[in-house]
């Protein structure tokens, strides 16, 4: 046993002791529990000052740009609104048919009919018109940057961190910036959407251009290609599939941002519709409108990814090519025909109000019925989760155990036996498993007793930085230290911990549940077939929509936020686990079978260790999804950084919002880098052991 304890473990043990010492000193030393107010660096004020200067002195420039951009949006919007819905719908179905076939065309038709009948057609077209302008801009811009980064390492080094920031800083944080610079209106949504959706295009462009096989380039050169020819006739066509995947991701990102941006209002689009219905507590309406968003997202996703897949499938190209040649003709005929028809049958032009059918009222009634009749059950679930999981994590056992919650007062002997029990468990693990698990258990026991938000900040700073250093090396360790340091000196540490607390619980539950489901799905094709479309839907769904059913049942509050985060973050946990378990090297599995592994041994001793690196990537994605959803969950009432971001937006305090947004981005990046480094580490071990 003793040979397993290396220096690393001594260091960890020292950190546990320091942590305990800091906790004990906390009541006597004030700056340990809260970073002193007079030492907070007023970054937020500085940012606001810069912003004011910009608006005063360069406002005219941005306003000019805004004015210019307004025109194409207005144009597209006007066309989409002026066309009879039957004509537009027909064109959508035709595109869907070309991209993927009659199934998608049918799905598109159903979606269009739903939007029309439910009465959200004009709002949907407003959303689409923004997407239609922002996507080409994002693609052009992203492609250009991607090409630049592909050819210049220096450019790549500058661009990559920018992409990270744009994708991790919550949109609410820079919506205000855009709002202040460009003024109130649809342009805000457009710019936010371009900013958010060009990064995936850059990444896919770089990857695509890089993946073109060297021999294809060489054969292009030997065919006598000039630089320009090599790029446009060899590199770009060979990378086409990846580029189209970029288009798909950019489009989805653009749609979700257009929806999010509608929070500032004035756009009369479908996102605004959902939001205002939620605010009015009309859940039937909001769910129906949310479904419209989900349908738009699904159709756009299927169409663009259909085009991407098709471009790699050259056998089918002949068919689709001949179709494409005829498509323009069919489109023209169809448009004219439907336009003419719409003149005779007004219902094809604008769906009459009295034919609209909305089950919203009956939905609201059945919901009320549900809530009234199951009130006790719902309350019980809420209370259990709150008293036994959320509260202890937040303020610790010492704060949360009371006659009111747990039914008894926390006595000294309770605490002592808790300490003794956890120490023994740790010792047992050190003996039977390894010392790192023991340290983990000790730290966890301390967190759970004292509560994440009651921990002295220097202790957490130390623990996080040291862990990052051990996992990812010096750079990551220093990065974590300075990143968290920034959060400390800007005075947003308490809120940051509230975010970490909510997100950690959600991530842990998502990962355990998701991994379990993934393991089940890997061994059972039926389960896998059932889960796949659910996962697909959850993943394409704009985050907004996921909130709706939970708010409906559990009302506003942290618990609702938790459930919404879990619903979204569970998807990668399931996906990666199943993928990892299903794609193991055949040889190792067969070898294990021949050694006579039982099913249980096969799973726990062979498959899971082998799939661990992939599952770690799943954990990474779970965290990223969790943080993304956390930001949106601020809408249903949380207390962390995400709430400050949101408040910053609604109060017009740009500096505050941006600082909090950066704080969230820092947390996201630290979590991302650490789990990735961990996965890489595991991967190396796996390779040494098995290959």
């Amino acid at each position: 046993m003793w040979d397993r304890i290396d220096r690393d473990v001594y260091h960890w043990f020292a950190i546990v002791l320091i942590t305990l010492a800091l906790i004990l000193a906390q009541p006597h030393v004030e700056w340990l529990s809260a970073y002193p107010k007079n030492l907070i660096i007023p970054f937020a004020d500085w940012l606001n000052a810069i912003m004011n200067w910009l608006v005063t002195h360069l406002g005219w420039l941005f306003m000019g740009v805004s004015w210019l951009l307004e025109w194409p949006i207005k144009g597209v919007r006007m066309v989409l609104q002026a066309l009879p819905w039957s004509v537009t719908g027909f064109l959508f179905c035709l595109v869907a048919y070309i991209a993927s076939g009659w199934r998608l065309a049918l799905f598109t038709l159903t979606s269009c009919l739903y939007m029309v009948i439910i009465g959200y057609w004009p709002e949907s077209m407003n959303t689409l018109s923004l997407v239609a302008i922002s996507v080409p801009m994002a693609i052009l811009f992203g492609f250009g940057l991607g090409v630049w980064a592909f050819y210049s390492r220096r450019a790549e080094r500058a661009i990559m961190p920018l992409l990270d920031i744009l994708q991790t800083v919550p949109a609410f944080a820079y919506l205000l910036l855009i709002l202040m610079l460009f003024g109130f209106g649809t342009v805000v949504g457009l710019i936010a959407s371009v900013l958010y959706s060009f990064p995936p295009m850059v990444r896919n462009t770089i990857v695509g251009l890089r993946r073109v096989p060297a021999e294809v380039i060489e054969s292009g050169l030997m065919s006598g290609a000039t630089g320009r020819q090599l790029f446009w006739r060899v590199r770009v066509p060979s990378a086409k599939r990846q580029l189209l995947l970029g288009v798909n991701q950019a489009t989805m990102a653009s749609l979700s941002m257009v929806i999010i941006a509608s929070i500032i209002g004035g756009t009369a689009d479908i996102g605004w519709e959902v939001l205002s219905q939620i605010r009015k507590a009309q859940f039937g309406e909001s769910l129906l409108a949310g479904l419209v968003i989900a349908l738009i997202a699904m159709v756009i996703d299927r169409v663009t990814s259909g085009l991407a897949t098709q471009s790699g499938d050259y056998e089918n190209r002949k068919r689709s090519q001949s179709l494409r040649h005829r498509a323009l003709l069919i489109a023209c005929i169809g448009v004219v025909a439907f336009y003419a028809l719409a003149k005779f049958i007004p219902a094809l032009e604008v769906w009459p109000r009295d034919l609209e059918f909305s089950p919203a009222r009956s939905m609201n009634e059945s919901l009320t019925y549900l809530i009234v009749n199951f009130r006790t059950e719902i309350e019980t679930i809420k209370t259990l989760a709150f008293f036994f999981v959320m509260l202890p994590t937040k303020i610790g056992l010492q704060g949360s155990v009371s006659p009111f919650t747990w039914g008894f007062e926390l006595q000294t002997w309770h605490s002592l036996s808790y300490a003794a029990g956890m120490t023994m468990l740790g010792a047992f693990c050190a003996y039977r498993v390894n010392a790192h698990v023991a340290i983990f258990i000790l730290l966890f026991a301390i967190f759970f007793y004292f509560g994440l938000t009651k921990m002295p900040w220097p202790a957490l700073l130390l623990i996080y930085s040291f862990a990052a250093w051990r996992i990812g090396g010096t750079r990551l360790g220093l990065g974590t230290f300075f990143g968290l340091g920034f959060i400390v000196v800007t005075g947003i540490w308490p809120e940051a911990m509230l975010s970490v607390y909510l997100c950690s619980i959600a991530v842990i539950i998502s990962f355990i549940l998701g991994a379990g489901l993934g393991i089940w799905a890997a061994g059972n094709d039926t389960v896998s077939a059932i889960l796949r479309p659910i996962n697909d839907t959850l993943q394409t769904m704009p985050l907004f929509v996921i909130l709706i059913p939970f708010v409906m049942i559990f009302k506003i509050g942290e618990f609702t936020a938790l459930l919404a985060i879990i619903a979204y973050a569970i998807v990668p946990a399931i996906r990666y686990t199943e993928h990892g378990l299903r794609n193991l090297p055949e040889g190792v599995i067969e070898a294990a079978q021949m050694m006579g592994c039982s099913n249980r041994q096969m799973l726990w001793s062979v498959k899971i260790p082998l799939a661990l690196p992939v599952m770690m990537l799943g954990l990474n994605q779970t965290i990223m999804y969790g943080i993304a959803m956390l930001v949106i969950a601020a809408l249903v009432g949380t207390n962390g950084l995400e709430q400050i971001v949101y408040i910053g937006l609604s109060d017009g305090n740009f500096g505050l919002g941006l600082i909090a947004g950066m704080g969230l981005a820092i947390i996201a990046m630290i979590a991302d880098r650490t789990t990735q480094a961990w996965s890489r580490k595991k991967q190396n071990i796996a390779e040494i052991h098995f290959w």
Binding site: P213, E215, V216, E218, S219, G220, L221, M222, S223, G224, A225, T226, Q229, R233, V234, P237, S238, K240, G312, Y314, E315, R317, K318
Partner: protein
């Protein structure tokens, strides 16, 4: 290095002291710019000792008009690098590559593109086909880059398609073809511009053995029609023997030996070369001239064969005729006589087995 056989034909392509060094500052070792140094071996050592990698060291050889010159070596011996130095897909650090007496390395980018468009064709190991173009578009691709009109392009592509036997496959995409067919497309594409120099970088290595043999035959058939000047890279000694007029063996970026295949087999310069020749069926490589010895008696009554007759086809005759057979050169003069004993002696060298313990 054995001296090269005197050129009977004009030299088409010539590598002179070509070096390729990878590292921070490869140029520093060649202040003069010329690759000709007094002691290449010690320079190569100096270079590898100062954190640079020597991919090619002082490589020199000539390729004559209409000749198949094979470069053979294990992976990492620098054979792919040297063929890329010739085509300037890789920029050599020092030396000269002369095509028709002009240094390719001194050409401007525009001139280089022109050379590649009209004088050089290259075939790649994993084919390097454009995935988004079908067979005929792939083959016509170099012509398209030159701006040749569609009609002429198609006509020319059809001609080479026929040459490589891919008729009927014109509208297929690469991923619908077998490996052998894909390489036929690669070959056809490299021939579409009617190059004078044809570079083949392990063209058949990615194919399975049966297809490989068939493609080698096809290749020899095409060459018997076109008479290109060829640099053929391979790691397969058997393949080298089948196609080579002359060959070079490379190791650690340098050429170990150059010569006709039979020269290498009969007079390997070192164990490295000998190792390759070990598994070769000598009777099918050696020809009558290789085993003939000077006639010491009258030639009358002896049968006559040409110098390049493989000896495995002579075994039956020699078994019947103890006096052997007269070997004559292309011009009809007699080179010497080959007897069964000469053949047995030559073959004996080719076997690795311990001589039997013969009791008296």
């Amino acid at each position: 290095m054995t001296s090269e056989t005197p050129a009977k034909k004009d030299v088409k392509l010539s590598c002179r002291n070509v070096w390729k060094i990878y590292g921070e500052e490869p140029k520093q070792f060649f202040e003069a710019g010329n690759g000709a140094v007094e002691s290449p071996v010690s320079l190569a050592n100096t270079i590898s000792n100062s954190n640079h990698i020597v991919a090619n060291a002082d490589v020199s050889f000539n390729v004559h008009v209409g000749e198949i010159f094979v470069i053979m070596g294990l992976s990492g011996s620098g054979k792919s690098t040297i063929v890329r130095c010739i085509s300037r897909l890789v920029e050599p650090t020092a030396g000269e590559v002369l095509l028709d007496g002009e240094d390719v390395l001194k050409k401007s980018d525009a001139e280089l593109i022109d050379i590649r468009r009209h004088k050089m064709g290259m075939v790649f190991q994993s084919f390097g086909l454009m995935p988004h173009l079908n067979v005929i578009e792939n083959i016509a691709f170099p012509l398209k880059l030159q701006g040749v009109g569609e009609r002429e392009r198609c006509a020319q592509a059809e001609r080479v398609i026929e040459l490589v036997g891919l008729q009927g496959r014109e509208s297929n995409f690469p991923n619908e073809l077998s490996g052998g067919q894909q390489q036929r497309v690669g070959i056809a594409r490299s021939l579409a511009v009617e190059p004078e120099v044809w570079l083949l970088d392990e063209p058949f290595s990615a194919l399975d053995p049966l297809i490989r043999k068939k493609m080698q035959d096809e290749f020899l058939r095409i060459q018997s029609v076109l008479h290109k000047s060829i640099v053929f890279i391979t790691h397969d000694f058997q393949e080298a023997l089948r196609v080579a007029d002359r060959m070079a063996i490379m190791r650690d970026g340098a050429i170990v030996q150059v010569g006709r295949p039979a020269d290498l087999i009969l007079n390997p310069v070192d164990d490295y070369v000998r190792e390759f020749t070990r598994d070769v069926p000598w009777e099918s490589v050696l020809c009558a001239a290789d085993v003939a010895e000077a006639a010491d008696g009258p030639l009358k009554g002896l049968g006559r064969v040409t110098a390049d007759t493989p000896i495995d086809s002579l075994l039956g005759y020699l078994g019947e005729n103890a006096d052997g057979v007269a070997v004559e050169a292309a011009d009809g003069s007699v080179i010497g006589v080959a007897r069964a004993a000469n053949v047995v002696k030559a073959l004996a060298n080719g076997y690795d087995t311990t001589p039997a313990d013969v009791r008296r």
